[in-house]
Symmetry: C2
Subunit: 200 residues, 2 copies
Amino acid sequence: MDNALEFYFDFSSPYGYLASEKIDALAQRFGRQVKWRPILLGVVFRETGAVPLTEAPLKGEYSLRDFARSARYLGVPYTHPARFPLATQHAARTYYWLHEKDCAMARAFAHATFRSFYIEGCDISDLTVVLDLACRQGADYNALSEALAGPSVKERLKGECEAAIRKGVFGSPYIIVDGEPFFGVDRLPQIERWLEKGGF
Amino acid sequence: MDNALEFYFDFSSPYGYLASEKIDALAQRFGRQVKWRPILLGVVFRETGAVPLTEAPLKGEYSLRDFARSARYLGVPYTHPARFPLATQHAARTYYWLHEKDCAMARAFAHATFRSFYIEGCDISDLTVVLDLACRQGADYNALSEALAGPSVKERLKGECEAAIRKGVFGSPYIIVDGEPFFGVDRLPQIERWLEKGGF
């Protein structure tokens, strides 16, 4: 895992979702693995003063069009959720809790969460929705409920967000390859070139 | 020219420069022409509240790296100018003045201006630099000097900026194809697909 790609994202980020459907296969073609790192853009934006894309004047209207068109371009199913953006701390904390037990289960949970939000329109800010998604991947309901009510998973996510900001993460997706940062799903072709050539 | 692409940019925009080196050849492959429309991002940002990319916390540092890497990716020569960003009203007004007389001369002036800034590091906010660039394309020094001192070219550029904002332009490059808006040089592959398929 030493040369693994680091993939930072917020579960509420459309471009993060699009990247999540592509990044593993891209890395695998070059014998690389990917460390998934959910973060909270709300925490990052408090640091940077940025606003959610869809709330920015003019850019907001454009971005709704661009989310859907970029999904079509990449061949990824996408329906813009009625409730958007939404809080993703339950989902992110659940991811890290699962990850400590079973990496594959955490990855499956992440895909299921993104897809339930961006394909089925589920409210992934709702704790019961998140618990259900986790249990369908095999998580223990009682143990996870208890963990999400306690301080440990909160501290873990807080620490991950702070570490991400220290690394320069300012948005989603933000992908680090061999120390080189790439922001946006539209940088996947540059990441591919980087992996092919070992930098460019 | 009815189905021409509309290419909005600021002469101080690195991604606008990169797009300027690619957009005509891309359009030409599909039998399309391109209308170049320099604008002032400062005027647009007053409307939207946005800040220049390089001044945004965290994103600023990243963007300097991304300008140069995106240029390498696209095979376009690029040296980040020492003085950046800078005011481009003289360059934009000169463009429109030339365009009323000779479209090809205006296009050549635009390329020369971008390249002098992003390859040679010239100060294209300086009126004498702009006059020199225009005269090297064949402009009449006295007529242009007089025009730039008068109200007509100022009104023209003001009108172009206002019209751009009404069309939703919030950054550079912003390219409209068949009514569909594309923001960023990283959208060129989507524009290519659009031109190939007549939409997607």
